[in-house]
């Protein structure tokens, strides 16, 4: 018989919390990060609406946020978190730093995906007299769609890793459970169970991303 200090309900709750944190911060992060990535691409030198001020502002911001380790970001922005969600502990308190962490990451990934688009396509768009909005809408995004899905897949997996640290503000989730019950209370079963859950999560998300990307690439 397995001996462990946690109940099935606790375990299911932690899985639920992880899914909740990942999905909410992924959605908000994408809403911020995708336009950010697009903006960086179109305003970069040689871009379709080249603008050194916008580019010169956004590019360093992405770099600065991306260079702060998540565990530090988590505590560094507690005042901001408090302001937004009225609390500095629990699941919803983790969503703010997770979003701030993932948005620039998504921005950078989106930028890379868009830069992969064949420059010839952009030239064709320009030759057709497309407006900047039309270039983005009808040329850039459709051509990069498969690659964008893979970028979001990578971002999601990055988020799962980050949620494990969100336990530091009492956010819960499987990562938190592994530390509190598995590590601090020497419950090997919890450690193994969490690792299995995380591996399954990552596998499922990556496979889903690959399938979707292949599907849109074939049209």
């Amino acid at each position: 018989m397995i001996s462990t200090t946690i109940t099935m309900d606790q375990f299911m709750l932690s899985i639920y919390q992880t899914i909740q944190m990942v999905s909410i911060s992924l959605i908000i992060g994408s809403v911020l990060g995708i336009p950010l990535g697009i903006l960086v691409v179109v305003t970069r030198p040689g871009g379709i609406i080249e603008n050194k001020w916008v580019y010169g502002l956004l590019n360093p911001i992405i770099n600065i946020v991306r260079s702060v380790p998540f565990i530090i970001l988590l505590v560094a922005i507690i005042p901001l978190t408090k302001l937004i969600v009225q609390t500095s502990i629990g699941t919803s308190a983790a969503i703010v730093p997770l979003t701030i962490y993932i948005a620039p990451y998504i921005g950078r990934l989106v930028e890379n995906s868009l830069l992969e688009v064949n420059p010839g396509i952009m030239e064709a768009a320009e030759a057709m007299g497309a407006t900047p909005y039309q270039v983005i809408r009808y040329f850039l995004l459709p051509e990069a769609f498969g690659s964008l899905i893979l970028s979001l897949t990578t971002a999601t997996i990055g988020l799962i890793g980050a949620t494990a640290m969100a336990g530091a503000v009492g956010a819960g989730g499987v990562g938190d459970m592994a530390i509190v019950y598995g590590y601090q209370r020497f419950d090997t079963f919890v450690i193994i169970a969490t690792v299995v859950v995380l591996v399954v999560f990552v596998q499922v998300i990556q496979s889903l991303g690959n399938v979707l990307a292949r599907k849109v690439r074939r049209g």
């Binding site: 064949n118 030239e123 057709m128």
Partner: protein
């Protein structure tokens, strides 16, 4: 129709100024098929991109139907670009969209109604011979088919000018042939002015009316194709012409040519259709000379014949002079050739 006036284009590459075009003047009349030929780096790609303002000139003006493109606002310029179609060496089709959607794109940008788009796209696909490929993706097509899609897309917005940037350079000779025929058909049926950038003289020979030869950012020679082919002036032009029209006696024959004091080697270029007359036969009858034909080449340039003969003429010096006069009087360019 299209006029480039004293264009100079300078790029700034990491602080160093690179002159891509220097004092270029070019005039393309409505309905022309105008070829621009040159080696890579000659500036021809830059030149064609000036016509639809993908590149702006550093100096000089680009006039389309008499209006300087620099005088347009950004949105007016976008509208103008819709009247200028462009096809590319690597086709530049959207891999994520079907053939239908690719061709429909310019119409979508014009915010046309769905039914209008559908009708027009099928019309265009029928014109380029790809009705059955509408639902396929570019990566399922051959190079020639991709270029046909590119052409259909370029024609979608009913342009008056079609720019072709090395449009056949990635294709095999047969496919090139069929694409060129299609371009000719477009020119004839829709009266679209076509500008073709290429490094293949064969392309110019097959469909162009006029040609400009470029080297190091300058146009070194331009004019009607038949004239440039018949009488190339610049060495680079000569090199290009020789890729399609041979006028050299094979080496083995050169060695066999017997040298004697009484014979002359003459290169005869027949211009202006005079090749339909039995000139050589007349010449022999009139001057009683022996003519030994060493080399002959006939090139068909869109119906006009360009004939080159290299003959060995046996007869005394005075007679030879008369013969040359007679030939020149009949629109034949005569040139004495000497083999060491």
């Amino acid at each position: 129709m299209i006029e480039l006036r004293d264009i100079t284009k300078i790029y700034n590459k990491k602080g160093a100024a690179v002159t891509a075009l220097r004092n270029v003047d070019l005039q393309v009349e409505k309905g022309d098929i105008y070829g621009v030929i040159g080696y890579s780096g000659a500036g021809k790609s830059t030149l064609v991109r000036l016509i639809n303002y993908l590149e702006e000139p550093t100096e000089g003006q680009v006039l389309i139907e008499g209006v300087d493109l620099a005088s347009y606002s950004v949105s007016e310029l976008r509208a103008k670009k819709k009247q200028i179609g462009m096809i590319f060496q690597h086709f530049n089709l959207l891999e994520s969209k079907t053939v239908f959607d690719n061709v429909a794109l310019p119409l979508v940008l014009l915010k046309e109604k769905k039914q209008v788009i559908e009708k027009r796209v099928y019309e265009l696909l029928a014109f380029v011979g790809l009705e059955d490929k509408a639902k396929q993706y570019p990566n399922e097509l051959s190079g020639g088919q991709k270029q046909r899609v590119g052409i259909a897309r370029a024609l979608a917005s009913n342009p008056t000018i079609l720019l072709c940037d090395e449009a056949t350079s990635a294709l095999d000779p047969q496919t090139t042939d069929s694409i060129l025929k299609l371009l000719k058909k477009i020119n004839e049926e829709y009266n679209i002015t076509v500008v073709i950038i290429t490094h293949e003289m064969e392309v110019v020979k097959q469909i162009c009316d006029k040609v400009a030869v470029m080297e190091k950012g300058e146009i070194i020679e331009q004019g009607a194709v038949i004239e440039v082919f018949g009488n190339p002036k610049h060495p680079t032009t000569e090199t290009f012409v020789r890729t399609v029209i041979k006028n050299e006696v094979p080496d083995s024959l050169k060695q066999a040519i017997q040298k004697d004091g009484n014979s002359k080697l003459l290169k005869l270029d027949f211009l202006n259709q005079s090749s339909s007359e039995p000139l050589i036969s007349k010449l022999i009858q009139r001057f009683h000379v022996k003519v030994n034909i060493l080399f002959a080449n006939t090139t068909d340039i869109q119906g006009a014949m360009l004939v080159t003969l290299i003959v060995q003429l046996e007869g005394e010096g005075a007679k030879a002079k008369e013969v040359i006069q007679f030939l020149e009087g009949n629109d034949v360019a005569v040139q004495e050739v000497v083999y060491p």
